[in-house]
Subunit: 205 residues, 2 copies
DNA sequence: AGCTTTGTTAACTATTTGGTTAAACCATAT
DNA sequence: ATATGGTTTAACCAAATAGTTAACAAAGCT
């Protein structure tokens, strides 16, 4: 094991290894041994730092979800004109997910496999997305006639779908459009501007 | 065990049970015992009909993917005006997924956990989505000036994202918007018309 | 130095789980 | 009735995997 590893905090190394393995393989598919190997340590040490698999997983999942959700809230609740808000959401959110492209699929999948557990236990306070502010804002603009009539929830879902879905379909897109990981990144990068333009164009009265 | 179960073909009962469990828990999370229980049979009988877990899984996965992908191709390759094609895609595809709401997340997740395996082994011929026809069609309309300039791939991804993503986020949407499964269905149903309208509006020159 | 706390390991245990075996069951043909 | 062949089961086995223990090493403290 090289110095750079030994130097680093063991707990941190475990968390990074666990994240890597859990996000790739999911809670059920991840092996404690693999996490230990990835961290370059003994399996027993894993249990020394984190009592069991579930505890370790919850830590990773919480961290992952914390990266994904609270920022949504900030963006949704900000005091900004609608179009600017849409632009900023796309821009910032794509940046977040771009550096963790597998997070959305991971989180949504685990939620799907155990909805009660996560949605009841984990979604408290700041973690729970609260889109009401944005929804009201959309409804206002519709009423004022500045944008085409649209059910606010539809617009919200369209925005989120177009932003997040490409990451979830990443392996398929790369294989099917015959593009490399780099090209995928370029494609995503360009969508920062494309998605808002598309939405704003759709909303022209 | 009631008559209705005993009557049905055992193999069919197993496949249905396996689908239920695999789709819910994923390959790694599914337990052969659970599948046996769900089918109301002995675990050994599972291995009598399907040699092992992998074989059984592959059967389910293939069936699932066959339900999702080939239909896309038919719709993409059809000889229809662009807008009509978009409308039909939304309408028909939402119908397909509506009766199997967990399929997209299941399939994308398994592909993600083992891209080489599935994309190389499974994507042959009709299974492989081939969007070139639709992409050309979009490019033509752009050149002709009948729709706003847009990179065809972006439009394609927007269409697919808005159609499929809501199903993947179903548990989150139900919990977060405080809606029931029935209301979710209503919401999805209404999007059959909403998504095409949104896209067509965005494409107005 | 000696003592205590913290970090780390190899070897082990317990449990889960995929898969097997041999016997029982049951319908049907002879 | 009974032999036959496909179907089903209870009991078992082996491999994989989460978790434990006990000994040891390193670092801190008096």
């Amino acid at each position: 094991m090289d110095k750079s590893q030994k130097d680093t905090n063991t707990e941190q190394r475990i968390l990074e290894a666990a994240k890597k393995v859990f996000v790739r393989k999911g809670m059920a598919g991840a092996r404690m041994q693999d996490i230990a190997d990835e961290a370059g340590i003994n399996k027993a040490l894993l249990h020394y730092y984190f009592r069991n698999k579930e505890k370790l997983f919850e830590m990773i999942f919480t961290e992952a979800a914390s990266k994904l959700f609270p920022r949504i809230n900030q963006l949704f609740t900000a005091e900004l004109p609608l179009f600017e808000k849409i632009e900023r959401f796309c821009h910032e959110y794509i940046d977040i997910v771009k550096s963790n492209p597998y997070l959305p699929l991971f989180v949504l999948n685990e939620i799907n496999q155990n909805p009660e557990h996560f949605l009841q236990k984990f979604w408290k306070g700041e973690h729970k997305p609260n889109p009401t502010h944005l929804l009201n804002q959309i409804a206002e603009e519709v009423q004022r006639g500045t944008i085409r009539p649209i059910h606010p929830v539809n617009l919200l879902i369209n925005l989120v779908s177009m932003t997040i879905f490409p990451f979830m379909a990443k392996p398929m897109l790369e294989a099917n459009l015959g593009i490399s990981a780099d090209q995928f990144n370029d494609f995503i990068e360009q969508r920062k501007k494309e998605i808002p333009a598309f939405i704003i164009s759709a909303l022209r009265p």
